[in-house]
């Protein structure tokens, strides 16, 4: 357990805005402020109880050994108890013993109860707060514009959940209470020590200073070496990954020995780095532990020496006993306090990263045109319907309070669109095109030519300046994003399925679709046949992106998913690129059925897919360099012709 945590610790950069982040982090505790304050009070009570229990040892032990007449020695400060202790009669001393042990037992019992209540409160606060943080983060992340997902690696986003949130949780659940407890314990114990004997207390103060220095020194070295270790581990992981991935090539080229030789060099290096790093972390424990023993010895000796010169040497027997217990009590808090502080920094750094994501503005949506179910009478009058009618209309509220309805047809126009993901680099230049309802428009071109960008603009994953793209005559920036996207269905090159049954995955297209509708969609997509042959048919569980299905089968389910959504406009982005010709033929049938009567945008690598389109656009470096149908383009003998006859390679 200690291993990975230590490893992570090393990456923690110093936070930029410590105070602000800390306050915000603590802000999550606000709804539980009352509970938290109560918990901190309990921490205080618990520490007090522990210190008191140990402090009681002094009068207890001394009371058993003092002789009658040593009235100069104050034992408990309670007159009748002290009298009991001073009385020479054995029976009375026994009742003194009984009372004192009884007192200690009561203190312990209090500590037990307090500890239980405290932990229950803390765990309830931390789990609730944590869940709240998680939900907030996830909810906000989903609302972020696609740009964030395209420009941040998924690993980085994931680490907010697996790393940063855990760190923040650690901070709330353990750091705060432990830090408070450590500080209180140290302050409390030292106060008690100074009350008992200032000489020994000074000695113990020296112990704390030395321990803190050791923790700082070894801890710092350890951290430095673990950073180096992480790097070497990264190196060996990379090598192993590469060689095992390429194991078949290694074998085909008889390269086993070279591969082993290369491995050994890194492996030896790792062994050395690991030895250094582990040394520091391994010796920390024994050194701290034994340092406390050194002071255990010193307290005994110095205590004895102080006693011989003191007025009432006997008192020191009890005092030393208490001190020896106190050493045990504070070794851990001292050791922990530096770890805790480290954890605070890590949590703040983690919090900073999480808050940065939470502060990233969500997708802006100023659209006000919405999509509604519609009834259309013979004269073309449109009325809104509460239930599904199979027809849709755009509901367009105007500034004068009137509402107009426009039938959703699937007419998409680009008017001189110029777009770039960043200011410096233009991806699309002066693109103008139109697709009338039911048409099939294809885009062809190399990777990076801007094909996918066009579809990103249609569904407003990215926004273009006002009025450049119109949908059924409406400026798409005026259409509410959710409604716009509901009117389009996409089948993407990389098929993504979700954990759940096949049926659930198809229903993802339209959540209120009945089983029958889903099956009909699967039939339309030519997927019904293979689904029926799965072990549990439509109830077969798909895990991890549908790993138990072939690429072609997953693609068919994705098509069925789009089919069940039943939208007027369809976007197929390289939907068949990684499928062999035979499977493609199967899918094509499904696709053709799906495209029937819908406006379709097709992006394809393989030209056979686009042959029967109404219009084919050949894109190069963001510009449409050729357009026309298949016959036109072949006749032009331009780029399309070269591509088609295989004289040019698409990359």
């Amino acid at each position: 357990m200690a291993g990975p945590r230590k490893g992570r610790m090393m990456h923690a950069p110093r936070p930029q805005n410590f105070k602000g982040t800390l306050l915000r982090l603590v802000g999550f505790l606000k709804p539980h402020a009352g509970k938290m304050i109560f918990a901190l009070c309990l921490v205080f009570v618990q520490i007090l109880a522990n210190i008191l229990a140990t402090a009681t040892l002094t009068p207890l032990i001394n009371g058993l050994t003092v002789k009658q007449g040593d009235f100069a020695v104050k034992l408990t400060g309670i007159a009748w108890l002290d009298n009991l202790a001073y009385s020479g009669v054995a029976e009375d001393k026994l009742s003194y013993l009984g009372i004192m042990v009884g007192a200690i037992a009561c203190i312990y019992a209090t500590s037990l109860v307090v500890n239980y209540v405290l932990n229950r409160i803390l765990v309830s606060i931390s789990t609730t707060t944590m869940t709240e943080m998680r939900n907030q983060l996830f909810s906000h992340m989903q609302k972020l514009p696609l740009k964030v997902f395209d420009t941040t690696t998924h690993g980085d986003l994931m680490s907010h959940y697996t790393n940063d949130l855990d760190m923040m949780n650690e901070f709330i659940a353990r750091c705060i209470p432990q830090l408070v407890s450590s500080v209180f314990t140290i302050v409390g114990v030292y106060t008690a020590m100074f009350v008992l004997s200032w000489q020994l207390a000074l000695l113990m103060l020296a112990m704390m200073v030395i321990m803190l220095l050791v923790v700082k020194g070894i801890g710092g070295k350890s951290r430095k070496n673990f950073v180096a270790l992480q790097q070497t581990v990264g190196k060996i992981n990379g090598y192993v990954e590469e060689m095992i991935e390429g194991q078949k090539v290694v074998k085909a080229f008889n390269h086993e020995q070279q591969s082993v030789d290369g491995f050994e060099v890194i492996n030896d290096d790792l062994c050395q780095t690991a030895t250094r790093a582990n040394t520091y972390s391994n010796i920390m424990g024994p050194i701290m532990n034994n340092l406390s023993h050194v002071f255990y010895a010193l307290v005994s000796v110095v205590g004895a020496l102080v006693a011989t010169s003191a007025e009432n040497p006997i008192v020191y027997v009890g005092i030393i006993a208490s001190f020896l217990m106190y050493i045990r009590n504070i070794t851990q808090p001292i050791q922990q306090i530096s770890q805790q502080i480290n954890l605070v920094f890590m949590a703040i750094a983690g919090g900073e990263r999480v808050f940065k994501l939470m502060d990233t503005p969500a997708e802006v949506d100023e659209g006000y045109v919405t999509l509604v179910h519609a009834n259309i009478d013979q004269d073309g009058n449109i009325t809104e319907s509460a239930t599904r009618t199979g027809k849709w209309a755009w509901k367009h509220p105007h500034s004068d309070g009137t509402i107009t309805y426009t039938e959703l047809k699937g007419d998409v126009r680009f008017d001189d669109v110029t777009f770039g993901y960043t200011e410096e680099k233009v991806v699309l230049k002066n693109i103008s095109l139109y697709a009338t309802p039911g048409q099939k428009i294809a885009f062809v071109g190399s990777t990076g030519a801007g094909k996918t960008t066009i579809t990103n603009l249609i569904n407003r994953f990215y926004d273009v300046p006002d009025g450049r793209i119109r949908y059924d005559g409406i400026n798409i920036t005026k259409i509410k994003k959710a409604d716009l996207r509901r009117s389009l269905a996409m089948v993407l090159q990389e098929t993504h399925l979700f954990t759940g049954t096949v049926m659930e995955n198809i229903r993802y297209g339209r959540l209120d679709a009945t089983d029958e509708e889903c099956i009909a969609a699967a039939k339309c997509a030519n997927a019904h046949h293979f689904i029926k042959h799965l072990p549990d048919g439509y109830n077969t569980m798909l895990t991890r992106d549908g790993e138990n299905l072939s690429q072609g089968q997953r693609q068919l389910i994705a098509i069925a998913r789009a089919a069940v959504a039943d939208p007027p406009v369809l976007i197929l982005d390289e939907a068949t690129s990684s499928i062999d010709t035979r499977t493609e033929w199967l899918i094509e049938k499904g696709m053709d059925a799906l495209m029937q009567g819908r406006t379709t945008f097709v992006i394809a690598h393989r030209l056979s897919t686009v042959r029967n389109s109404n219009a084919i656009m050949v894109l190069e470096q963001g510009q449409i360099i050729e357009r026309g149908d298949h016959e036109d383009l072949i006749a032009q003998k331009g780029k399309y012709y070269q591509l088609y006859t295989g004289m040019f390679e698409l990359s």
Binding site: L112, Q142, T162, V233, F253, T308, M490, L492
Partner: protein
């Protein structure tokens, strides 16, 4: 499991053993300290209360430099007290300083042994994987092999370090402290007779009850993160279908599951806490009562009681430690098992000791059946009979899953046949050493892989002794020379891991050049020009023809144009040979071939190639 761990300590036996020795020494010294402390306190007490000694004490009289023993019942003088405090004080400081040194040395040795252990384990695993056949590799999957070499070895190392340190220390501490407690005050020590088993039982119950709860929590936790991962990878789908709310509901449910299971596990932990504390506090109170009354009766001094309290902490915390270790070891067991699964795997291909080499490129398949799962009912190839003469060019076509790749992988013996045999140069491939066979057979795999390093280093995989001229020549044939020279660093261009910085078509051409440098008798290209345009493809093929007259070439292709000039074309259908012949013959007789030809030519303008 422990013997499995110990195997990894090879070469590091001494540091391992000395770690144990030093840990034992450290522990022994540690438990002696309270005893010495008790002597000081006891002497102080009897001196200040003017009572006789309860036990005899031996000390060093530093004014005369000789050991003196004061008998039980004697009275202590102030002078004697000073000597006794000094003697035992020095003993304690020396002991604790030694204990500190031993502990630190043990820590260092443990780091040496632990790191050496994991080094060995990684090496065993890596070496073992090198002996694996393709069938073995397929069985484990590359991702899982990588995890085993990295993460699992790391976990095993933690267990190993724990084994030679904590696993030794905790029971030693328990035994030593108990012995010391018995010597110190037999009449008090029986308290531990109750405390140790009570605590042991509580901890054992806790471990067995809590463990599954935490496992469930971790499972829910993984499921929750999987939910995020899925959402991230499919974010376009989520947004395109406007399913943000739906996904959020899913996540909220997963997060709630985590919260509930965590609460359940933690609640049990919290509930057990007062129980263990009760035992510990109860022990302290019992010691105080019994010890206290002995003090009152005068049969025991207070230093002994204080020492007993220290022993009680040491004893009871080692009991808890032992239970904790047990849980940790059980948890790391899975990792060790996963490591040994690889180490215990027998390579499915046994190498032949023969030193025969491949001298001609003749290949014969005789009644070959093949199955990846070695299962007669699940054949990938069935009844294959094929004769390829030395120097011939052979094309293989067929759909996905028809067995094209499987067929050619039998030639360099990447897999063994289920029945029948494959002969190369007249000898069964199983009668060559794998090294010699693969020297004679070059294969460009479907999944082309380059390694990090320069282009030149990658090409030299084919032949480490290749001269620059030979490299350039091979690259020219593979049509790779021109694009290599277009890079600023030419042949010294650095490739990233897996050759990420060249395009698919360029990668394929580099792989072909790499294979050509081997100057093989048999050259197999498994769909290795799919990302190359037809003109380059044709030029590579004609280059191959001129390169070596005697070289047999086998080409698997999707495009018929890539194979139509071959001496023989093999049409595979569902694991069986449907037809063999030249383009002309197949166009006349083979319906699959005709169909494929028509579908690929459809719409192409005459003379388009």
């Amino acid at each position: 499991m422990i013997s499995k761990l110990l195997k990894g300590a090879k070469g590091y036996e001494l540091p391992s053993i000395f770690t144990i020795v030093f840990v034992l020494l450290e522990t022994a010294l540690e438990v002696l300290l309270p005893m010495a402390m008790a002597t000081i306190l006891n002497t102080m007490q009897v001196f200040s209360t003017a009572n006789p000694l309860l036990t005899s004490v031996t000390y060093l009289d530093w004014s005369q430099f000789q050991f003196v023993t004061v008998q039980k019942g004697a009275f202590v003088t102030a002078e004697m007290l000073k000597h006794i405090v000094f003697t035992y004080g020095v003993v304690m400081v020396v002991f604790s300083a030694l204990s500190l040194t031993f502990g630190a040395v043990a820590g260092r040795l443990c780091a040496v042994a632990g790191s050496g252990f994991s080094k060995n384990m990684r090496k065993f695993l890596f070496d073992k994987v090198q002996t694996f056949s393709f069938a073995n590799i397929d069985k484990f999957s590359t991702a899982s092999l990588v995890t085993r070499i990295t993460t699992d070895v790391n976990r095993a190392q933690q267990s190993f370090m724990m084994l030679i340190r904590t696993v030794v220390r905790a029971p030693a501490m328990l035994i030593f402290s108990t012995i010391m407690a018995l010597i110190n005050a037999t009449n008090l020590a029986w308290v531990f007779l109750f405390a140790i088993p009570a605590l042991g039982v509580i901890m054992a119950v806790l471990a067995t009850k809590v463990h599954p709860l935490f496992k469930q929590m971790l499972k829910n936790y993984d499921a929750m993160n999987a939910c995020v991962q899925e959402d991230l990878t499919a974010i376009r789908v989520v947004k395109a279908f406007v399913r943000e709310d739906y996904e959020e509901q899913k996540y909220r449910k997963a997060a709630e599951d985590v919260r509930l299971s965590q609460l359940k596990a933690e609640k049990l932990m919290i509930a057990m806490n007062p129980l263990t504390s009760t035992v510990m506090y109860g022990t302290v109170c019992a010691l105080l009562i019994i010890g206290g009354s002995s003090i009152v009766q005068g049969s025991m001094a207070s230093g002994t009681l204080t020492a007993m309290m220290t022993y009680s902490t040491q004893i009871l915390s080692s009991v808890m430690m032992i239970c904790f270790i047990a849980v940790q070891l059980v948890m790391s067991r899975a990792s060790i098992d996963r490591i040994y699964e690889v180490l215990d795997e027998t390579p499915s291909i046994q190498d032949s000791a023969s030193n025969k080499t491949v001298n001609s490129g003749e290949i014969v398949f005789q009644d070959v059946d093949f199955s990846y799962s070695n299962n007669k009912d699940n054949l990938t190839l069935q009844g294959i009979n094929l004769h390829i003469k030395s120097g011939q060019s052979v094309g293989i076509i067929g759909g996905t899953g028809d067995g094209k790749s499987s067929l050619v992988q039998l030639i360099p013996r990447f897999y063994d046949v289920l029945s029948g045999r494959v002969l190369v140069d007249g000898t069964d491939v199983r009668d060559y050493s794998q090294h010699n066979l693969r020297e004679g057979v070059a294969m460009v795999l479907q999944k082309n892989l380059l390694f990090s390093g320069t282009i030149k280093e990658n090409l030299k995989w084919g032949n480490p002794d290749a001269t620059d001229e030979e490299i350039v020549e091979a690259c020219k044939i593979a049509c790779a020379h021109d694009f290599i020279m277009s890079f600023p660093d030419g042949y010294l261009t650095e490739l990233g891991q897996g050759g990420v910085n060249v395009s698919g078509g360029q990668k394929q051409r580099l792989c072909i050049a790499r294979a050509l440098l081997k100057k093989p008798k048999i050259m197999i290209m498994d769909d290795s020009t799919s990302a190359v345009d037809t003109a380059t493809d044709a030029s590579i093929r004609s280059g191959l023809k001129t390169l070596a007259k005697g070289m047999t070439t086998i080409i698997i292709a999707q495009r018929l144009t890539s194979v139509q000039d071959c001496d023989q074309i093999v049409v595979l259908d569902d694991g069986k040979i449907d037809a063999v012949g030249t383009h002309q013959q197949l166009m006349e007789s083979c319906s699959i071939y005709q169909e494929a030809y028509r579908s690929q030519q459809k719409g192409t303008v005459e003379g388009g190639e």
